[in-house]
């Protein structure tokens, strides 16, 4: 049983969506996804709906209560995954592969502009006994520690981070929803947030919603002539106790990638993958994730980047969209943002400088202090 993407819709990707509530954003994205899926009727064509969201981001306890109506799922099988949107795709993939479901809709939305205490909310994700009493005033400090560890171990210098930032903004300039793309902006001139991370190394937040329609190979052509197949998707969680996890290398991304590649029968991703969309909410994370996804040997991403391998038009373009550094981080929508951009490139909806658009790998990570990654392999 193969699983295909029958439609994708998005809304927002603005620093602040003023005129729409999160429910209206969900509705808009769903409407566009259903239109993209040949005018699919959620009331009769969809078997189940999944929403990826977290209570504290929503400011609502039991926030899944609000999932059914905006996506057309009321009185149907709806549930929430408290994880990145790409993890919802993983659940939908399993549901369809079980043989019990034919069409599953995945939704995620984020409205960071509604949250006035982002640092405090993020810090509430740390262990209440061992870490929270430290009262970190800036949660990015945890990412800075990871950056230092990675840079020290693999000889990555600030110039390499500069190259990631520059590439992201240049690529993002061609992405219609990359509101933060600012080609020519100098990383060095931005203030230091937590050494070695400067303001330009840290992705900003953005309001967005994305909806994806997945369908079994049995029915997908009822909705589209050009499905993009999900040939593998896997996820992994590394130890959540920060003191014990590997600060220099994201094993969770490696494990997720290995699982996805095994399903998709990809033996040498650096050769077989045409392009990749990976998490780069911190500039150094793009290099880490390229290596974790076996798109470059450990410690070499920095050199290949400087050689232009990961640039648009390069041997294996990474983040043709500019990634989170150019688009922003819409909370749990991040993975679906990466996926929807990859789908658009594969279908030719977004023009992109890429030689091979038949195989793409998509990755998401949820930011500090989390240790979960999801990886999906897409094929035309």
């Amino acid at each position: 049983m193969r699983v295909g993407i029958a439609g994708v819709g998005w809304f927002g990707f603005q620093p602040e969506v003023v005129d729409y509530s999160f429910r209206e954003m969900m509705f808009k994205a769903a409407q566009r996804a259903y239109e993209d899926a040949g005018g699919l009727d959620p009331r009769k064509d969809v078997d189940a709906f999944i929403s990826c969201q977290e209570d504290f981001w929503e400011g609502i306890s039991i926030s899944d209560e609000f999932a059914p109506d905006p996506v057309g799922g009321a009185m149907k099988a709806v549930y929430t995954v408290t994880g990145d949107g790409l993890q919802c795709v993983g659940q939908a993939y399993m549901m369809i592969k079980s043989g019990l479901f034919d069409v599953v809709v995945v939704e995620s939305h984020g409205k960071p502009s509604d949250v006035v205490t982002l640092n405090e909310v993020m810090f509430t994700a740390t262990d209440p006994i061992s870490v929270r009493p430290l009262g970190l005033e800036n949660v990015h400090a945890l990412a800075a520690l990871e950056a230092r560890s990675y840079m020290a171990k693999y000889g990555v210098e600030e110039g390499h981070l500069e190259a990631v930032v520059e590439k992201a903004h240049r690529a993002g300039a061609k992405n219609p929803r990359a509101v933060y793309a600012s080609p020519g902006r100098s990383r060095a001139s931005t203030p230091t947030v937590v050494d070695p991370l400067k303001e330009a190394d840290i992705a900003k937040f953005v309001d967005a919603a994305v909806v994806v329609v997945l369908a079994s190979d049995r029915v997908v052509r009822d909705f589209t002539d050009t499905p993009v197949w999900v040939d593998g998707v896997w996820w992994s969680t590394e130890i959540s106790t920060l003191e014990y996890h590997d600060w220099a290398f994201p094993h969770h991304a490696r494990e997720a990638a290995d699982g996805a590649y095994m399903q998709a029968k990809i033996a040498d991703p650096a050769k077989e993958v045409g392009f990749a969309e990976v998490d780069n909410r911190y500039s150094f994370k793009e290099l880490q994730h390229i290596e974790a996804l076996r798109l470059a040997p450990k410690g070499t991403a920095k050199d290949l980047l400087v050689d232009g391998a990961f640039c648009p038009g390069g041997r294996l373009p990474v983040n043709l969209s500019g990634g989170a550094l150019a688009e922003g981080v819409p909370f749990e929508v991040h993975g679906l943002a990466r996926l929807s951009y990859a789908v658009a490139v594969m279908r030719g909806d977004f023009k992109a400088e890429v030689d091979r658009r038949d195989v793409a790998v998509v990755h998401s990570w949820r930011g500090v202090p989390t240790t979960t990654s999801v990886v999906a392999v897409l094929r035309l």
Partner: protein, 395 residues
């Protein structure tokens, strides 16, 4: 499932179950509670964490444990490190949803042995009372400014049910009496009350009329866990696997004010989905034992009717006639349910699934129902009175 098929790739069985004590103010952390239950389920299956491919976690509002991204936090306690771990969520209905999600982990062929863990620690949530967490479940624009209390809307629902079905409080109190007495056979139970009477329920403190103290389940900490496996693995692990025969769930609209409060239509639809998969067309006859969700005594009656185990307005009659007693024709909540064993939201739902597992295997000890058990059902309920989750299991 658009009517095209009701077949699936792999059969899935439950091969082990475990649960902690259900108590208020447990000293263990949420991670420790999760591990205690997980370890017991693994031990019962004769497995270790190394044998587990994937982990599914369930926990209700994040605010109870006071941890943002609670799935990441609980992963360590639930045995989910270096494994595909996911947290699923449908509010109070989460406990029964955890094995439903675990089902497709196995049925898809991607995982062979899955640990399903549900945890809740309510006692250290917002002060002075856990109810404060529920102040943030409402529509932030229309309802929250009114500062409603969750018990108010349940009181409305209970009142509506009593009015529409002409049910007396005495009849509803019988559920509380039955379940709190049943709980005395449960080693984890928080509220074993062997001598409780209808009069005690009727004389208990009025919270929001007609809801009184003994109509409602207590605030509880606890965890429960199951091990699920593919058919091939299950037969290697045990001679007595309990098969997952049907799964179903439904979420009604968020707008609870527009709903028929006297009948849980969302439960009916969830049950319909599960029954279709399990090949059940007469639940009253084909279900031997059931664990419907009973955070309030009237909800047991409500849910029996939604599940088709009683006709509309018939559940109070069956209860009065003793049909739902442990030795009755249709035993309901022989575990003691939430009213007796306790209500650590998500863990309470999974406790019910564990109970069906033990009942089908004939391992429920003092709680074992008198009639032979071939098929059992567990159900949970949640969100803004809108979520129904149903699982049917059997030999």
């Amino acid at each position: 499932m658009t009517g095209r098929n009701i077949n699936f790739k792999h059969r899935v069985a439950v091969v082990g179950a475990g649960m902690t004590l259900f108590r208020s103010r447990m000293l263990e952390t949420p991670q420790e509670l999760a591990w205690l239950a997980a370890k017991q389920a693994l031990d019962e299956a004769g497995l270790t964490l190394k044998d587990i491919d994937c982990v599914v976690i369930g926990s209700a509002p994040d605010a109870f444990d006071g941890v943002h991204m609670k799935g990441e936090y609980l992963a360590e306690g639930a045995g989910g490190i270096h494994k595909p771990t996911v947290r699923v969520f449908v509010g109070g209905a989460t406990g029964v949803f955890v094995p439903i999600a675990a089902w497709w982990h196995v049925a898809s062929g991607l995982c062979k042995r899955v640990l399903a863990v549900a945890e809740e620690k309510m006692s250290h949530a917002a002060k002075p009372h856990t109810q404060y967490v529920f102040r943030y479940i409402w529509d932030p624009i229309v309802e929250k400014p009114l500062n409603p209390n969750l018990i108010w809307i349940f009181a409305m629902e209970m009142h509506r049910y009593m009015h529409k079905c002409n049910v007396k409080k005495e009849d509803i109190a019988l559920v509380s009496v039955k379940n709190k007495r049943n709980a005395c056979g449960h080693p984890s139970a928080q509220l074993c009350m062997p001598n409780i009477t209808v009069d005690d329920v009727l004389k208990s403190e009025v919270l929001v009329w007609p809801v009184q103290l003994y109509d409602i389940s207590p605030t509880t900490d606890g965890a429960a866990a199951l091990v699920l496996a593919s058919e091939e693995e299950a037969r290697r692990i045990t001679d007595t696997p309990v098969w997952v025969k049907g799964i179903g769930w439904t979420l009604d609209t968020t707008h609870w004010t527009n709903r028929d409060l006297a009948y849980p239509e969302y439960v009916r639809r969830a049950a319909e989905m599960a029954y279709r998969m399990a090949g059940i067309d007469n639940p009253r006859k084909q279900i031997d034992v059931a664990e419907p969700y009973d955070p309030f005594d009237y909800k047991e009656l409500h849910h029996m009717e939604g599940l088709g185990l009683a006709k509309k307005c018939e559940a109070p009659i069956l209860t009065r006639e003793g049909v739902t007693q442990r030795d009755g024709d249709l035993p309901i909540n022989p575990s003691g349910g939430l009213l007796g064993v306790g209500n650590p939201i998500a863990a309470a739902g999974l406790m019910k699934v564990a109970e069906i597992f033990w009942q089908v295997r004939g391992e429920a000890g003092a709680r074992q129902v008198k009639k032979p058990v071939y098929t059992g059902l567990a159900q949970a309920w949640g969100d803004l009175m809108q979520a129904g989750t149903v699982i049917v299991m059997g030999i």
